[in-house]
């Protein structure tokens, strides 16, 4: 009895470490909100890079990110409107924003080559994390077929960004 009592909270903790537990899968309105928020975060980071960086390759990358994520988010807004889905704020979106704000504060303190390296390294890590979430949580859990298809195209775009960021990170070493 005592053992069970301890084991239960332990299992609960383990489940909470993941973004969503089995019985609390994100719904389509939350999935749309997470995808949109993730895009906005990368646009904000790109704008900071365009203010701070003088490196031609880094600036071009930031321009690509800003343009692509805006295009994806414009499509996302058109789709949720068509589907009559109102994006719904949630813990994953909040956690993403909180992390992004901390990273932004850190990047703002840097300049020159140190900024370029930190920005691109973060772009690699950020795209990796978001792509992982898309592939393993958001796409499988999306119930609307059009939303699922749209997120799958988004994933291919963001996997491209991840590869682009990785090769840029190599060249900045």
């Amino acid at each position: 009895m005592t053992l069970k009592f301890i084991a239960a909270p332990m299992a609960l903790l383990a489940t909470c470490a993941l973004a969503w537990s089995e019985d609390a899968k994100p719904n389509d309105a939350q999935i749309a909100h997470i995808a949109y928020t993730a895009g906005q975060i990368d646009i904000t980071a790109a704008q900071l890079a365009l203010q701070k960086s003088k490196n031609k390759d880094v600036r071009e990358f930031a321009e690509d990110m800003s343009r692509d994520h805006k295009a994806v988010n414009d499509q996302a807004l058109a789709l949720v409107k068509k589907l009559h889905v109102a994006p719904q704020n949630n813990d994953t979106s909040k956690a993403l924003l909180k992390q992004a704000n901390a990273k932004e504060a850190e990047l703002k303190r840097l300049s020159g080559a140190a900024f370029d390296k930190a920005y691109i390294d973060n772009e690699v890590a950020y795209h990796k994390a978001v792509n992982n979430e898309l592939e393993n949580v958001l796409i499988p859990d999306a119930t609307n077929a059009e939303l699922k298809d749209f997120l799958s195209t988004g994933l291919k775009i963001f996997q491209g960004h991840e590869q682009h960021a990785e090769s840029l990170a190599q060249s900045l070493k």
């Binding site: 692509d68 295009a71 414009d74 195209t153 960004h161």
Partner: protein, 107 residues
């Protein structure tokens, strides 16, 4: 009967002339959902290669050896003319997971 035969021979000659091997062609490649389709294309020197982008994000068709870099705007197209015999790998600079290959054969 004889007239029909002559006519059909004439038609055959006309058809052959239109398909003469030295006439440059346009080879079309579509870009859809982050894929070059077909990903592998065979062309001849002098042929035009035209990419049409059906995606909602801009792409490029960029030769791995730096020979060409074609911008493919949203819902737009871009083209090159195959100048010399060779095997060319190409990719999209913005999304390097998009890859294609062109074999350029003699005229």
């Amino acid at each position: 009967m004889r007239r029909t035969l002559t006519l059909s021979i004439l038609l055959a000659v006309a058809t052959c002339a239109a398909a003469a091997p030295d006439a440059a062609e346009t080879v079309r490649i579509n870009v859809d959902k982050l894929r070059f389709a077909p990903a592998e294309a065979t062309v001849h020197v002098g042929d035009e290669i035209e990419w049409t982008n059906g995606d909602f994000v801009a792409h490029t068709a960029t030769a791995r050896d730096g020979a060409w870099d074609v911008a493919l705007p949203v819902k737009g197209s871009g083209r090159i003319v195959a100048q010399q015999v060779g095997e060319i790998d190409y990719f999209c600079r913005v999304h390097p997971n998009m890859r294609g290959h062109i074999s350029v054969k003699p005229k």
